[in-house]
């Protein structure tokens, strides 16, 4: 249904309060059109979706290179302190594009919804995505909807894609770190993972920790403006935390890292929650932070630019890149001793021992 439909077309309004998604909403018929109009187009509101096509078209940006990313969002619980699966999907996809130094342009979002999922929750998620996209200035221009039988999807899964353009002269890649480079982090670690865990059944505690889920493209733009030619790479330490990111980079670049535990910002409540559960903040997911590796000449300017930005106020230099044929990430502990920061094989689980 769009602006050319007959004015008096009868459309049952979606019962957004009590209605639930059923198999008909994924069947491609009128029910699905109603769902898309009533929930997704209402939330995302842009000219591309209004065209009503299965694809969005736009002029090719002039100059630079294009960046494309895709992501899947399966977080549980769907709603958590500081965000939800929708805002997470928007922020995460934008960030993947931004980590290439690119300006994100457009997003797509594909929804796989479990039969029985309440419209009210779906609307809440869509509205959250719409707000996140609008705040970031990156619209969701195309999407898809599928419904699967009860039990085949944990409420809703969201798959996204994002595209952007990288300015000429900016080449950021995980294999570009060289010994002597400086490693920075944009802020405190562990907020998102702890916020998620505070919701999980059997791990209840009240905490004011909010997920740090945020779109980082504006911060990245400021960083490029300040130190663009000296930047080697950016990466956001999501699943697996800082530990996974640094180990990945060590192998990609063929180097080692030496970091200083005292330099790594961790909020006291996050540290306390990790202590209670036996978790190490280094392995906990972040959704609004980035790791930057920069040539030493650019480190000061970069740090200043990050700290001047709202999302980088707590930015810090945490270490350096070294030669290491074992690709170890070595850390000087707050205690003064040494240890490696290992690459966990699976998810970090709480422990009693």
């Amino acid at each position: 249904m769009n602006r050319h439909s007959p004015a008096k077309t009868y459309r049952r309004k979606l019962d957004l309060k009590h209605g639930r998604v059923d198999m008909s909403h994924g069947a491609g018929g009128r029910a699905m059109a109603d769902l898309i109009t009533g929930i997704f187009r209402a939330a995302f509101a842009n000219e591309w979706l209004d065209q009503g096509n299965d694809q969005a078209s736009f002029p090719t940006p002039a100059g630079g290179r294009m960046v494309m990313t895709t992501d899947g969002y399966v977080v549980s619980p769907l709603f958590f302190p500081g965000g939800d699966i929708g805002s997470l999907a928007v922020h995460g996809t934008i960030n993947d594009v931004a980590m290439a130094g690119a300006r994100p342009l457009y997003l797509s979002a594909s929804f796989i919804i479990e039969e029985g999922f309440p419209f009210s929750d779906l609307k809440r998620i869509a509205d959250s995505m719409g707000r996140a996209a609008a705040e970031a200035g990156v619209p969701v221009v195309t999407g898809d909807t599928k419904v699967v039988e009860r039990g085949k999807a944990d409420g809703v899964f969201i798959a996204t894609a994002g595209i952007g353009t990288v300015p000429d002269g900016i080449v950021l890649s995980g294999d570009r770190a060289v010994p002597g480079d400086v490693v920075l982090i944009s802020g405190s670690l562990g907020d998102h993972g702890v916020a998620i865990m505070s919701c999980r059944a059997n791990l209840e505690f009240e905490t004011a920790i909010l997920s740090d889920s945020a779109a980082l493209h504006d911060l990245v733009a400021a960083m490029i403006a300040a130190a663009g030619p000296h930047l080697r790479l950016l990466r956001d330490p999501t699943r697996g935390g800082l530990a996974a990111t640094l180990n990945e980079l060590a192998h990609q670049s063929g180097v080692g890292f030496r970091i200083d535990e005292d330099a790594i910002p961790v909020k006291p409540q996050v540290a306390a929650a990790c202590e209670l559960l036996g978790l190490d903040p280094l392995f906990v997911a972040n959704e609004g932070k980035l790791v930057a590796v920069v040539a030493p000449e650019g480190a000061d300017a970069l740090l200043a630019a990050m700290r001047a930005h709202g999302l980088g106020r707590e930015a810090a230099v945490i270490g350096s890149v070294v030669e290491d044929d074992q690709r170890f990430v070595q850390m000087t502990t707050s205690f003064g001793g040494g240890r490696i920061v290992d690459w966990l094989s699976g998810e970090q689980l709480p422990r009693i021992c």
């Binding site: 059997n202 074992q326 689980l349 009693i352």
Partner: protein
């Protein structure tokens, strides 16, 4: 965090390290065992070994209840979890431990078994109460620290009159294991036992007090210093052990005076006494079958005993024959000296008990310390300038 951060102060650590270095006699070596896996973890995670003199060695003990749990018992738990109608509640530590035929609780969960990770035994009781048509089994593990909470869960289940709650009990005893470490003769060709003293477990001791360690100090002439959980506590305890050895004393001393008393926690001891009794024998991974080393539920509480309710029969499963855990646990060998370390045996594919959880000697070395082998070749090592 109060009562935590003060005991992690790096500046104090360096000075205490200097005190230890000043008091060790240069003409001899010192070898102490920290029994408790939590201490092993603290030592590794904070890099305490970098701060100890070269002639002082810490031997990592078997005080890791996940590590010493035999494969057969995990197999039992998986079988229980697979039974229709059973909900198995477990600490997260056990989820990834490999069982026979590469099974694990995590994999069984993926296959559809109702396995739930809990933080406290009372969570299992709550689940039993909330889901009366499920048979809720709590997979209980741990040394004397963790046993009283299981007893509280039993007491709570009893008070609520629950008929769908049972405990699969694998609680083990510290002093018996320490005795086994000292009494097991070295394998052929190995030198005599090196351990000259023990850093005693922190939280086990809050429960059992100081008395149970007296036999090691008095009969075996092995000093025991009970240490708190933080790295400064461990270092102070090491200093106290060095002094005992130098002065040829052999006593039970308490460094963890803020939490451990001579008598321990009488309330906790009494509630354990009410619900548990000592098993005749129990197999420990890496140490073999030890008499009077583990607990089971008393007969009057048989209705809460999962082994009786579900007729559990444990089948022994062997470790890899090249596994050196036994020697490593006794301090005869180091993790890097085991042929399987780092190749066949890694935290993802542990062959023996020492690699199973992050507190085991091999796992701790892998996760935190294996850079030390390569340190000599690297120009960027982290050894502090003394």
């Amino acid at each position: 965090m109060k009562y935590v951060n003060e005991y992690r102060d790096g500046a104090l650590a360096r000075d205490i390290a200097a005190a230890i270095a000043a008091e060790v006699r240069p003409d001899r070596t010192y070898a102490f065992m920290e029994f408790c896996g939590g201490h092993t973890h603290a030592i590794s995670r904070y890099g305490v070994e970098d701060l100890l003199p070269a002639n002082l060695r810490m031997i990592h003990g078997p005080g890791c209840p996940v590590c010493v749990l035999p494969v057969g018992r995990i197999d039992d738990a998986i079988l229980l979890a697979r039974r229709p109608g059973v909900t198995l509640c477990t600490y997260a530590d056990l989820m990834r431990v490999p069982a026979s035929k590469s099974a694990s609780l995590l994999k069984a969960k993926a296959d559809g078994a109702d396995i739930r990770m809990i933080y406290s035994p009372l969570d299992a009781v709550r689940i039993a109460e909330a889901e009366p048509d499920r048979q809720v089994v709590f997979f209980a593990i741990g040394f004397e620290t963790t046993t009283p909470p299981t007893a509280v869960a039993l007491k709570t289940a009893e008070a609520k009159g629950l008929t769908n709650f049972s405990v699969f009990c694998n609680h083990v005893l510290t002093p018996v294991a320490m005795r086994a470490i000292l009494d097991t003769p070295p394998a052929q060709g190995e030198p005599p036992i090196a351990i000259e003293g023990f850093v005693g477990p922190a939280h086990v001791s809050t429960i059992i007090g100081m008395e149970p360690y007296r036999e090691f100090a008095e009969n075996d002439r092995k000093p025991v210093v009970i240490a708190g959980f933080e790295p400064l506590d461990v270092m102070q305890a090491i200093l106290m052990l060095v002094r005992q050895v130098n002065e040829q004393r052999s006593e039970v001393e308490n460094q963890y005076i803020r939490a451990v008393t001579q008598a321990g926690n009488a309330t906790a001891q009494a509630i354990c006494e009410e619900y548990f009794e000592i098993r005749e024998n129990f197999e420990w991974r890496g140490l073999g079958v030890l008499a009077a080393s583990a607990l089971k539920l008393r007969d009057k509480y048989a209705r809460f005993d999962a082994e009786q309710r579900f007729a559990v029969t444990t089948v022994h499963a062997d470790d890899n024959p090249a596994c050196e855990c036994g020697s490593i646990l006794r301090g005869q060998k180091k993790p890097a000296e085991c042929k399987l370390f780092g190749t066949v045996c890694t935290p993802e594919t542990p062959m023996g008990s020492c690699m199973v959880s992050s507190e085991g000697a091999c796992a701790a070395h892998w996760a935190y310390g294996r850079f030390r082998e390569h340190q000599a070749r690297s120009a960027t090592s982290l050894l502090p300038v003394s």
